[in-house]
């Protein structure tokens, strides 16, 4: 397994600026605050009037996690229905999704299930998802309680955060958590699949659908 020996997410030595590269996507209905969330994280800035994303946009940020430089390539998608087909094309190779709804908008919460379906359809099976209820600073207009968000996340089997890009609540935490679970998953699949590190035991992963297989095509 010459190729599989060295995991794909580990860039070769020529690329000195980072150890890992993760491609992440922020998805969710339009105007739930995806762009603000990303700008808060990447630039630590906020304005209430970002231009509605046209198509797709991205930011790159390098973070340190467990003594490793992790380069995050974060794609910000347009939420409008018309753009769905454009944005789903970018799902391939994404290792993490931030699925966002707006706690003041019932529709955006109701669409979460649809977005999950989109992820299941268009991404490979090992992508990690975090559910995020944004705009939690707007308590007076809240229509989705924390509890409902948490229940949905439990039901979907994903982690959950409420955030505010405006007040900078939990923004960093979401990204850090996402990076952590991707890292965990990565080492887990290396453990579970000894053939990846060479010389595996026979019969260990037989009927197991390639659930834990790292696909790790970070299109970068």
């Amino acid at each position: 397994m010459a190729g599989a020996g060295d995991p794909k997410w580990q860039k070769d030595a020529s690329d000195q600026n980072f150890d890992y590269m993760f491609k992440l996507l922020i998805i969710g209905n339009s105007s739930v605050g995806k762009t603000s969330f990303l700008f808060r994280y990447a630039d630590d800035s906020f304005t209430s009037a970002f231009v509605s994303t046209v198509g797709i946009d991205f930011k790159v940020k390098t973070v340190f996690r467990h003594d490793k430089r992790v380069k995050l390539q974060i794609w910000d998608t347009a939420g409008q229905e018309r753009y769905r087909t454009i944005t789903t094309a970018y799902y391939r190779g994404a290792m993490g999704f931030i699925l966002m709804y707006d706690v003041t908008n019932e529709d955006s919460f109701n669409s979460v299930q649809d977005w999950v379906t989109q992820i299941k359809t268009y991404s490979w099976d090992n992508a990690q998802v975090i559910l995020v209820g944004n705009k939690c600073d707007m308590e007076d207009q809240r229509v989705i309680s924390f509890e409902r968000g948490r229940q949905l996340a439990d039901q979907l089997g994903v982690e959950f955060f409420e955030t505010s890009a405006k007040e900078n609540v939990n923004v960093k935490a979401v990204f850090e958590r996402l990076v952590d679970i991707i890292c965990d998953k990565m080492s887990e699949s290396l453990d579970a699949d000894p053939t990846l590190v060479g010389g595996g035991q026979k019969g260990q992963r037989l009927t197991d659908q390639p659930q834990g297989t790292p696909n790790a095509n970070c299109n970068c």
């Binding site: 599989a4 339009s30 509605s52 797709i56 094309a89 992963r205 659908q209 299109n219």
Partner: protein, 961 residues
Amino acid sequence: MAEEIDDNGFYREDFSAESDWEVFNAQLGDLFQRWELSNENDWGDASFNVNNTKWQIDEEQLEVLGKPMTVKYYKALLEPGTCSKSANVTPQFHQDLMCVKSTLDQPTFLDEKANDVHYLARMYGLRRFVVMHPSQLQNHYLTNTSKFSFFLSSISVVAAEVCSAVPIFLHIHDPKWNFFLGIGMSSYMRTNFHSVALEQAPAEYLYLSGLVKMFKEKLPRNHDKPAVVSVRITYAMDTVKLRVPMYVPFGMTPVVDEERSVIEVSQFTALPHGYFPGSNTTMFATFTWPELMDNMFIDSPLQTQFIPSKAPCGKLYQTVHANSYLTACLKDYYNLITAKNTLESYVGRNFSGATTMAEEGNPLDQLGGKIGSHRPQTKQYADNTQQATSSGGQSKLPGPMKEYELNPMLYYLLPNIKPDLALFLYEMLSKDKIDPHRIKSAESDSLVYRLSCLLATVHAHFGGKSGFAQLYAAFTRELRQLWESCTPIPGVAPGLPDTRTCLLHQKLQMLNVCIEKRLQREKGIAAKTEGGMAMHTVELVTDDDDDDDDEDDDTNEEFYDLTEEDSDDPTEVAKPKEDNSKNPLKAEGRLRRFKNLKLIGSDEYLYVPVTQDLAPKTEDQLQDASDVMLKMGSDSEFITDLMCSTVVSDAEAFKAANPKAGFEDFIRWFSPNDWEEYWNEETQETGHKLSARMQAAGNTWQKVWEQAKPVPAARQKRLFDDTLEGYKILNYLESRNLGEIFGLTIVPLLHSSILKLKDIFANTQVLELFTETLDEILADLSRFSRDIELVEALPSPSSSEAPKINENKYTLQLPNPQPLLKKIEQLERDYYHYKCFECLPGVNGLPKAKLHSKFCEILKNNGHCNIVNAAEDHDGGVVEQVLQSLFIGDMREKLMSKDYVIRLGEGLVADESPKDVEAKDQQQPQAGFSNYLMPQFLRAIVTGEKLRLCGAFTENTTFLD
């Protein structure tokens, strides 16, 4: 006296000058210290399995008498001992010699792996030992006794000095004879290892009685205890040969002969099968008496009691030599992985038959210049193919295959080019069939699969690379024909390119999308946006938003005049008749009302416009788009324009459909969330307004809206130029080199092979035997298919000014497919093996389940199984009985060798369960060496009249016996 001669004037002999022998000893001593030969701990269990053990070999060269001497230290890598042997006083290598299990457990003759295990480990069961031999073995091997003594004396001195716990050997005579002399030292004991071989031994010594007598004579003093004897008799059985004739699709069909067919397929796969004529299974049987007292059995030239039916242990060993045509075909195909040959080098330039395209230069360059100037002519495909096949309208492609060979293959791939001759139609392919293994490939038996299999078969059986190139070129030429005649490609899943499938399949899907678009357009059907279609993305638009009128007219023409110009068919008249397009207030291109909403400040309904389909993309195009974006930065003008093209198109269509609409109306349709509800204090009711971000002055959306002219989708410049895309795909397929074609087809090929094997297994009722392995291979293939990466083949264009979108710069980078090939090969070998196993007399009638479990045992044990089982199997062991019955009667003819090991010493470990061993250990008195029974060992291997003896006799170095 001494003072007298102590004078400077005298010659003083340098007593410190060492002899060669001393120098060598010093070096050896250093080396042994470094290797820590005195270590008695962590040797692991003495009853280890020699064949399955990994060895660590340290090697060093020493100079002696001007010649290099190689010293090797062999060390079995074993788990630290399970029993508390470390506390035991017995030296480790004594335990080795006395361990019954490790010396007779595996046959030394047949297992190919056994050749990797050092002779000494096999003969004496040693876990650690050192071997010395002259480095240049060819001519300089040790032959004379004085040399032996030179080295042996070194060994004994040094071994004693460093308290070596490891026996040290000297390799003498021609290395292939395997003669060793050795010494094992431990406190007051010294074990001498010898070997002897006789071509023709006295008959007496070919049997146990004589050997025991000889053994006793060699003992240093009379032992009153009887020696312990282990015996193994080996029989060579008849080779089982199963003829499985070669089958090659579109070529050789085997003559059905009297041989039982072991290959039955229920689905046609264009892959060969069968096994090479030399395939066979060789069999050996060993019968073992692991532990006997030397006086219990009679074995002499006159009479022997060592016959199979009385043996307590018996094993059947099988070695398979089977080469399958399928595996050979795959391996052969694998050689293409690095092939850089172009198709042109085999079939000549312009094999594609691209008649409507300019032949010189890159046709795409010309296309890019003025789209629409090279429109494909719709032809009647039937005419065309008639021409091609009958009158030779298309020149025959050069290559080893004749037309009568090639054509059936093409009909197999593309049944619709000759529907009356097509034998293999495609089943309906579904869009979202999920493969449980999620192999990034396509549906089985789809076009991609058939092509991949056929290419491999042709490569192996119809003329190698040139046949391969011929078929592939012929295939692309047919594709071009289908494209020109606007006939959808069969055997491709419907819908837009699905990036969960392999690149070749995506390309063909894309080609079909282009063909369908053209068909739609030519039939004058307005394109409708199909909901839920996947994989659109932004398309590169070279024109600016503010097209001047001339260009507008140009694009108008492109959409409208196309069918008129190209319709050779006079019946095709259904073209859109909307000639009043220049009237700005006349609404055009309405699809339907939008939720019955009305325009703001107007009584007119708000209409959803007909919009253009977004450009579908294959994964290399997607990657290119995102690469360009990453390179340019998302805020560059280029990217903004790129991203805005859809909005511009939609805004224009919207304006055309709703001439009186304003920006707010557009947003209400396009981005409803930006049309916010609010509570109007003045009017005391809820009102709506644009969100802050849409109100922000000069935002992209407003700009786009202001600049958009009312143009219905049908008259807009195409966001997706299917003509260009179609040609791009044909060009892509035609310009691949052989290695790249390999990359495009390897996954479907491997998948087909596995499915074919599965089919064969199922048809011969052995699927359950191999299910686990098959699943494992499929999981591997799934991983393999998804580890294929697109990499840029060329250094990226050195421009920040004009990044060109050019997906052709990507090539596929494959992981190494060899481990997969090996697994498939092994699987085929195992299948052959099973079929041979089934052929053994009496075996075939046995219940399948029992047979399968026995065969699993063989597979698990690397080719052997028990045929005499004492207590392992409680339900009778039917299979064992049958197998054992093979060895009733006179077996003398099949006798291959006899292996006697005679031992005497402390703590003989019998071939028993570990518990018993432990019990024995505990019983063993913790006495010192006073009454220690020194280990004595003799192994005799009798092959016909030949006799080989390996002895290890231990003597007391302090007291003479």
